[in-house]
């Protein structure tokens, strides 16, 4: 028998290491003939820690939300007694969620042990490398990509074959294949899960891409905040070298390819490709004008190609199954599948991989289980700081590059943050502007100063100091910043403001003219009062109030002095009778 514990970052956060340790202890103590293994994230993060027990016939039972105390029960009943513990088993409804997906980039995540190249090979790994190196020409590989219709998953959606072709045709015998694993969107973790759960598939995608463009070296630029991903990649590179999939004369051919990792140092703008290259060279990560494109002048001025982690994760599947099979999925212009990090006010959050062309409704309700706490769905944010908020009335928009762009949002790299009636859209805009303002590299005036000015206005509005003309000023600044910035960071920074202005202008107006935040999220705009009928005069709120704004005698109705109230909410959280009203 085999016990497999999910140990992606999400699993570990939910306590998977302790569960693993408990299994280890008990299996040793009882000297059971059971192997204990780990795997990456399968995507249903809300069910972590997850444990699979596979019996000798290969039948798998999945247990969910296991805590260390429950491990003994699984050991005694299932491992020793051979009886299933139905209380902890995954529900049919939850296992259906996986059935609704189409897993290509995530095919091995949560299935194989990411630290074992043998398991990867057993799952069909490195077959694509063999096929490419021994049977296909560079042009044939690029052609297969063209047939597949694969577009970059890093955000811009540029056809992969086109970039490979350009790098291939660019003169020079020193070329580089670079993997962008800087994952900058502050609310997304698709790339991290792929790196942690299936590092070899990324390496293989890079080897194949490297062959296609004629590169000798691959470089992975990984966010510094992803230590586990870096460890697993280091192991994977070592293993691939040992097996002869990296190094000189790979598989007996005359193709030489090596790989190394470079850890980023925390700068969102380094996800932009020219900034990434500057950072690789040890400089400040400042973008530069294109052209020349990296395909002409990239790392150390040599032809280079940069792709996203998920893009690379799709390559081997395309080689093994053919570009046409990939193109059979999706819509006319958006082929294949896309991974999303479905989060926010959603019941069943986690990673999902869906064929392009599903509607947002299908993703949010059928796969995500709908909105938490039965609240009303308000909007979904896609594309992070470069993207926008899609309102509830557009929930039947299909997930493809063109349809999403039409809404004012973008496909982005895969962040999908669901918001309900308690999320203030002006505050969301402020949140993203705060992010881009901090992350602007400072090269362009409009980006550096413009985002700061926009942030100031948004802060003012959320603090109840908004004034006539603020909305127009935001719109003017947004256009100027878009036009006046050199790289996509500045060009897209106003998007969160523009989309919320487009769909939720009334919220801005409520804040500015009526001094109201309908989502009840902007503190300065709230009024705290005490309900006459439910207040028991227990005095607790008066004692908790840090500014002594609450007065009243024991067992009599208390009152809040609005002049003194600083809206900290302590009275509300301390009241046992729900007598504090917020409006």
């Amino acid at each position: 028998m085999k016990v497999i514990v999910g140990q992606g970052s999400c699993g570990i956060a939910a306590g998977a290491n302790k569960v693993f340790g408990e299994f280890e202890k008990l299996i040793n103590e009882k000297q059971l003939n059971v192997s204990l293994e780990k795997t990456g994230c399968i995507g249903t993060c809300y069910l972590e820690p997850m444990v699979d027990i596979v019996d000798d016939m290969g039948k798998k039972t999945t247990y969910v939300s296991i805590n260390p105390e429950q491990v003994i029960e699984l050991v005694e009943k299932h491992l020793e007694g051979n009886t299933l513990v139905s209380d902890y088993m995954i529900s049919d409804e939850d296992s259906d969620i996986l059935g609704k997906q189409k897993r290509i980039a995530l095919r091995n995540c949560g299935v194989i042990n990411p630290e074992s190249i043998d398991e990867y090979i057993e799952a069909g790994g490195y077959e694509a490398t063999k096929k490419v190196l021994t049977q296909m020409s560079q042009a044939e590989v690029i052609d297969e990509m063209k047939i597949s219709g694969l577009r970059g998953r890093g955000g811009a959606g540029f056809p992969t074959w086109f970039k490979w072709d350009a790098a291939n045709k660019s003169p020079g015998d020193e070329k580089y294949m670079i993997c962008n694993a800087d994952e900058g969107d502050p609310g997304a973790f698709m790339d991290r899960s792929v790196l942690e759960g299936d590092p070899h598939s990324v390496l293989e995608g890079m080897i194949i891409g490297g062959y296609a463009i004629g590169a000798k070296e691959g470089i992975l630029y990984v966010r510094a905040e992803y230590p586990l991903a870096i460890i697993r990649l280091e192991k994977a590179i070592e293993q691939a070298k040992d097996k002869g999939f990296l190094g000189n004369n790979i598989l007996g051919t005359n193709f030489n390819f090596d790989m190394r990792i470079k850890a980023g140092a925390g700068a969102f703008v380094c996800g932009e490709e020219t900034a990434l290259i500057a950072s690789l060279e040890g400089e400040r990560g400042m973008p530069r004008l294109k052209p020349p494109f990296p395909a002409q002048k990239g790392y150390w001025q040599k032809p280079s190609n940069i792709n996203n982690v998920e893009t690379f994760g799709n390559i081997t599947w395309i080689i093994n199954n053919g570009g046409a099979a990939y193109a059979a999925m999706g819509t006319e212009k958006s082929k294949g599948t896309k991974v999303f990090a479905l989060t926010g006010k959603i019941k069943k959050g986690g990673l999902v991989e869906i064929p392009m062309g599903l509607t947002l409704r299908e993703v949010i309700y059928d796969i995500g289980g709908g909105i938490k706490d039965e609240k009303a769905f308000k909007a979904v944010q896609m594309g992070g700081p470069s993207g926008g908020c899609i309102p509830a009335e557009l929930i039947d928009t299909t997930v493809d590059y063109e349809s999403l762009t039409k809404t004012g949002a973008i496909m982005g790299s895969g962040g999908m943050v669901v918001m309900d009636e308690t999320t203030c859209m002006v505050d969301m805009a402020r949140y993203f502007l705060d992010f881009t303002r901090k992350e602007s590299c400072g090269k362009c005036n409009y980006c550096r100063i413009g985002t700061k000015r926009m942030l100031e206005i948004l802060e003012r509005i959320t603090e109840g100091q908004g004034k006539e003309g603020d909305i127009e000023l935001l719109e003017e600044l947004a256009t100027k910043i878009k036009d006046g910035s050199m790289c996509a960071l500045g060009q897209t920074a106003p998007n969160p403001v523009l989309t919320t202005l487009k769909y939720f202008r009334n919220e801005y107006e409520d804040h500015i003219y009526n001094k109201k935040c309908t989502a009840k999220s902007c503190k300065s705009l709230l009024t705290f009062t005490i309900d006459e009928t439910t207040c028991t005069g227990c005095t607790l709120c008066a004692r908790k109030c840090p500014v002594n704004a609450i007065t009243g005698e024991v067992k009599k109705l208390h009152k809040i002095d609005q002049e003194l109230c600083i809206k900290c909410g302590k009275c509300e959280s301390s009241c046992k009778f729900k007598a504090i009203l917020i409006d």
């Binding site: 939910a14 700068a267 969102f268």
Partner: protein
């Protein structure tokens, strides 16, 4: 530079750093072009932050001008010019955590520790840093202390966790 101008970094009360710890790093990277960020990362691993003395030493060894090193160090958020507390609190301010109340958690931490984001408590026990998505959005709001993740935080649970860490530190001192 420093020698001539007699600037503060040469003052006699500046702390002394054992540069020999950096030698293996220098041997490995100083000749490889483009390694400045890697060298700085390794140096920060060794010293916990990047003191001026260390940056000057790296400059001497690599030939990269101190102004350029300082430029790189201040560009990237990972690099610190000040030492940090014993326990680094990384509070997630990613989108999912923001939507689920990360600001409220930040207020609660600040209240408990009496510091603002980026600062270290007077007793040197805690430093509070805001970070982007920690990849555990389904547990949001989330924070990480010394590599351990705490999820589904509330105003009260976060205070309790900090008290536990502090107590653990104190009982450690008694031993």
């Amino acid at each position: 530079m420093c020698e001539k101008n007699n600037c503060a970094c040469n003052s006699s009360d500046s702390p002394v750093f054992d540069f020999s710890k950096l030698d293996p790093v220098m041997d490995k990277y100083k000749k490889t072009p483009g390694s400045l960020i890697t060298i700085l990362q390794k140096a920060q691993d060794i010293y916990g932050y990047l003191p001026k003395e260390v940056m000057n030493y790296i400059s001497q060894e690599t030939g990269v001008k101190p102004s350029k090193i300082y430029g790189v160090v201040t560009f990237y958020t990972q690099f610190r010019l000040e030492p940090i507390g014993k326990n680094l609190i990384m509070l997630c301010q990613g989108t999912a955590c923001h939507v689920n109340g990360a600001k409220m958690i930040e207020e609660s931490i600040c209240e408990e520790l009496g510091v603002q984001e980026g600062e270290t408590t007077e007793d040197g026990l805690f430093t509070l840093n805001n970070v982007a998505c920690l990849g555990c959005c389904s547990l949001s709001p989330v924070m990480m202390i010394n590599g351990e993740t705490y999820g589904k935080l509330t105003k009260d649970s976060v205070k309790k966790i900090l008290k536990e860490v502090r107590n653990a530190e104190k009982s450690g001192e008694v031993k």
